[in-house]
């Protein structure tokens, strides 16, 4: 670790921070305008959304350059613009946006990947009749996502967070005429809502404790100074401080969005949406928003840790992340849908990021987020290109030998795949994954996460090899002939492929530019970075693991051309594992017989209560009224004769009054109301006098 040069914090907002709000607002406005367009105006819709996001990208780059320039001059840029939104009595509800290294780097990533995917979508959605609607939603999503990134107020973040969730719902269910898509959209919406409830609770608690919604506000925000100290002194249950408990609640929200165990079930189903959506929302940006959120509230999680130590909250994050990484990777081994394999891979990689955050801090997790965003978007778009080329076929068993038919797609896909596997030295994935492994190795609490993550790396290499050999090697097993996609789709692929390789440069141990940038330290090129004890051994181990995975995969699946219906190689050798994995550990079924069954049971109980208990009570009341009337009649007919005319009249008026209670006349009700007011006022005054 290099010694920190003393960076001076900069707080006053610069012009670029002043107009930072334009970055999310432009795409949102574009989406509003597109919503007003009619369906045939495809070109206008595409131009608008791509243009607005392009301008946003330019602004993001300006912001990024501003931050980098400040950093180069020894200024840790953290500029905020805050304003008061609402005032209830003495309580202020404040909103604001922030420009710091974390948000700057996310801004550039989101708008850049987003722009590429927008361009790609023009080709992919070419024949869809709801082209303009698609771009409307996509623009709205991009705006909201950028909004999440720049929010300096947890409330503003939450608003954008929900907006992102809404657009995700709309886009998963974009082909709503397919029942599976509609169901998947509903599932995604409801599952993430479970997490969001916890997020909301955490937000309310944070507001109640610290009295501010802002993250950073010149020392008065909830992430700095005395607010944190106050949160630390408060003790919640299970030995957690309030800070840790709030952090965990917010992490639950992040887990919902980022598909962490046990809320991962929606993400694979979300692949029912169009492939650009999967690439943008369910691989590169929205699912990463959870990771970003944890990074944003990291001071909360970390608060109270001794030097080199960790906190309960971070330990939980680590365990959840590591388990998710292995769990999802295992499932990915036995899937046949090309997009589902990638989806489980995404869940697994998100687990890596979370584990990275828990183990080694913001920089480790965020670096994997950035590299992953590029290569996973690349893989999804490659998969989309394959699906497009194979005429909407998604089953890997019906593909094969595509490398000669779609050379560009194959080349870029291979790059993405190697980056994801963490192929040594050349690809960015290697460096970011290595950072996480290194942090895991040095973790003070337990070594198990390290072994889990290594095992996950092995699995990753294995299932990716399986997929690639299914899709690109062997003989073609489909029905129609495949073709290469248009250049509007392949050019973004090439650009992303370049970054999938090149991004590794900024995170090598020799030049930890990324980490230094995020942590506000100076970065220098120093080959001695490799000389840290155990580092080279670790690199060797992880390379070995990767090669092992690649070799294992190739030996099982490589260049064999089974018929489409033939059983999988793994299925043939160890069937029981295959069955368990293929059925995703029966998590959906488990939820089906527990949570959903419980709700269904509860609904039946409520229904029964409605029908029998409350309904019975109402019927009972009606019966008693009837009885009362019967009694009256009895008195009328039998007792009257003796000459009780007067008393009888009174009784019948009594019965009449009771019947009039439900006369259906407005004025009767009003009359009773007035009488009640009279009684109430009389009682009030009487009691006041007494």
């Amino acid at each position: 670790m290099q010694e920190a040069i003393s960076f001076t914090p900069q707080l006053a907002a610069s012009p670029i921070t002043g107009i930072l709000w334009l970055i999310p607002v432009l795409p949102i406005v574009a989406s509003g305008v597109i919503a007003l367009l009619t369906q045939p105006k495809r070109k206008a819709a595409a131009t608008l959304s791509i243009g607005s996001l392009g301008v946003s990208l330019l602004l993001s780059l300006v912001a990024f350059v501003h931050v980098v320039a400040g950093w180069a001059h020894g200024v840790a840029v953290r500029e905020t613009v805050n304003f008061n939104w609402l005032q209830f009595g003495a309580t202020n509800v404040e909103l604001g946006w922030i420009l710091d290294p974390l948000s700057a780097i996310m801004l550039v990533m989101v708008s850049f990947v987003g722009l590429l995917i927008f361009i790609y979508s023009v080709g992919y959605m070419e024949h869809d009749e709801n082209f303009t609607r698609f771009f409307c939603f996509l623009s709205l999503f991009a705006g909201a996502m950028v909004g999440v990134v720049i929010s300096n107020s947890i409330l503003l973040l939450f608003m954008n967070w929900e907006l992102v969730g809404l657009t995700s719902y709309l886009l998963i269910g974009f082909w709503y005429q397919k029942p599976s898509a509609a169901a998947a959209a509903k599932k995604a919406f409801l599952t993430t809502r479970v997490g969001d409830v916890f997020f909301l609770l955490g937000m309310v608690w944070l507001f109640a404790q610290s009295g501010t919604l802002l993250f950073y506000n010149h020392g008065a925000g909830s992430m700095e100074g005395w607010a944190l100290a106050g949160l630390l002194s408060e003790h919640a249950a299970f030995g957690l401080t309030a800070a840790g408990a709030i952090g965990l609640l917010i992490f639950a929200g992040a887990a919902g969005k980022s598909g962490q165990l046990p809320l991962h079930v929606w993400l694979p189903d979300a692949m029912e949406g169009p492939t650009p959506v999967s690439a943008l929302i369910h691989a590169a940006t929205m699912v990463a928003a959870g990771v970003y959120l944890v990074a944003r509230v990291y001071p909360l999680m970390q608060a109270g840790a001794l030097t080199g130590g960790t906190t309960t909250a971070l330990t939980v994050v680590t365990w959840v992340g590591a388990s998710t990484a292995v769990f999802a990777a295992l499932i990915a081994v036995a899937q046949n849908d090309v997009k589902r394999i990638l989806a489980y891979s995404t869940v697994s990689q998100l687990g890596y990021m979370m584990a990275g955050l828990g183990l080694g801090g913001v920089a480790v997790g965020m670096f994997h987020l950035i590299t992953h965003a590029f290569f996973k978007a690349l893989l999804f778009m490659g998969a989309g290109s394959v699906i497009h080329g194979c005429h909407e076929e998604q089953d890997v068993r019906r593909m094969g030998g595509l490398w000669s038919k779609m050379p560009l797609t194959f080349a870029t896909y291979a790059i993405g795949m190697l980056a994801l596997c963490g192929f040594p030295l050349v690809f960015s994935g290697f460096w970011s994954k290595d950072g996480i492994l290194e942090a895991a190795q040095h973790w003070s609490v337990a070594k198990t996460p390290f072994y889990m993550l290594v095992f996950g790396a092995l699995l990753t290499a294995f299932y990716m090899t399986r997929q690639v050999s299914y899709v690109f090697f062997g003989h073609f097993r489909g029905h129609k002939t495949a073709h290469e996609s248009p250049s509007v789709m392949t050019v973004p692929l090439a650009i992303l492929a370049f970054f999938a390789i090149a991004l590794g440069v900024i995170g090598t141990p020799a030049w930890p530019w990324f980490r230094a940038f995020l942590e506000g330290r100076a970065a220098g090129f120093d080959l001695h970075g490799f000389a840290e004890p155990g580092l080279l051994a670790l690199m060797a181990t992880s390379s070995l693991v990767v090669f092992l995975g690649l070799g294992l995969g190739w030996s099982l699946y490589g260049n064999k051309s089974p018929k489409a219906e033939a059983p999988d190689a793994l299925e043939a050798s160890v069937p029981w594992i295959w069955v368990v994995l293929h059925n995703k550990f029966y998590v959906d079924e488990f939820y089906g017989v527990t949570v959903i069954a419980f709700y269904a049971w509860w609904a039946r109980v409520a229904d029964w209560l409605d029908r029998r208990v409350w309904g019975g009570a109402v019927t009972g009341v009606a019966w008693s009224f009837g009885l009362w009337a019967q009694l009256n009649r009895f008195l009328d007919t039998s007792v009257v004769d003796g000459g009780f005319d007067k008393g009888c009249e009174e009784l019948s008026t009594g019965g009449g009054l009771l019947a009039q209670v439900e006369s259906g006349r407005v004025q009767t009700y009003l009359r009773i109301l007035a009488l009640a007011v009279v009684a109430l006022v009389a009682i009030l005054i009487w009691s006041a006098r007494a």
């Binding site: 209670v661 439900e662 006369s663 259906g664 006349r665 407005v666 004025q667 009003l670 009359r671 007035a674």
Partner: protein, 103 residues
Amino acid sequence: MTPLTGYLLVAALLFAMGLAGALVRRNAILVLIGIELMLNAANLNFIAFWRYGPHPEALTGMMFAIFSIAIAAAEAAVGLGLVIAIYRHAQTTDLDKMNRMKG
């Protein structure tokens, strides 16, 4: 009699008149007129208490009255819309004949 008592008595009388109108007239529109009168009587109370209360600069009573005027406009629009809709349906605005909700 102090001024405030005078205003309060006028308001109470007006309220009672409105209530009587709402209770004794057959026509639904007249019932609405009665309700408007009652609302106005309440407003008069608010304003009177604002004027003679200890903190007129806090504007609480005044604001209440202003908001109540705004809401009364909405109430009148919706109420009369309902009356017209019922009239279209039943060809009458006589409340004595409107008892289809009878229990």
